[in-house]
């Protein structure tokens, strides 16, 4: 019985150690993928992302103006992505691997879908895009705020 107890204790200790190591590995991966952001980054990126959607869906009636707003929207979205990647690069990390890369790919596909639908937008539907921009900006701000470094 004593041997079984000791054996059970060892098994528990091993399992606890394994769980701790797994948690540490997951945390390290997350820390590698998500850079610690300065205070200014979440609001700036949120505004850029919101502006990107609102601008892309502005839907002016003039053809060339529509093209300009859509391109402006794309540039705003690219600027938001650039800010995050640049901060990460300055921290000495380049490239993404694993699930994070898939996540960025999904975000990219969503951006393409928004651009395609924005091409068909009209002055009547611009409020939908403006509302969507506000919602996505708020979501981006809250998500990125979690990555703000505590040490200032």
């Amino acid at each position: 019985l004593k041997f079984r107890k000791v054996h059970a204790n060892m098994a528990t200790m091993d399992a606890e150690q394994a769980r701790r190591d797994l948690d540490q590995a997951r945390q390290s991966y997350t820390d590698s993928v998500h850079p610690r952001l300065p205070q200014w980054a979440p609001p700036v990126c949120a505004v850029l992302v919101g502006a990107a959607i609102a601008l892309a869906g502005a839907g002016p009636t003039t053809g060339w103006l529509k093209l300009v707003t859509v391109i402006g929207g794309i540039l705003c979205a690219l600027a938001a992505a650039w800010v995050i990647l640049r901060i990460r690069a300055r921290q000495g990390l380049t490239g993404l691997r694993g699930p994070a890369r898939e996540k960025w790919r999904t975000v990219g596909i969503c951006c393409i879908a928004i651009v395609v639908s924005a091409l068909a937008s009209s002055p009547n539907t611009r409020w939908i895009y403006a509302g969507l921009g506000v919602v996505v900006a708020a979501y981006a701000w809250v998500s990125l705020q979690r990555q703000v470094r505590r040490d200032g």
Binding site: S32, G95, R97
Partner: protein
Amino acid sequence: MSAFLSGCDEAEFRAVQDYCSVSASNLSKNVAALEELGYVLVRKGHVGKIPRTWLSLTNEGRKALANHLAALQQIADTAARHA
């Protein structure tokens, strides 16, 4: 360290050192050991005139890490089943 490197293509030596909170010599020893196993690739270069070292996990290293994590998961799962 390997898990940290698994999230990126390359990481600067200093970034890994800061994250792991270890001395440069300690990290160098660990990196050398992993490099010998073929798990980590070390690239040296310059940014302007400043010498820099970049570390990356090789495909072998990624496989080894995945296997190690799978083994840990198995231990945790087995213990959970018997609890």
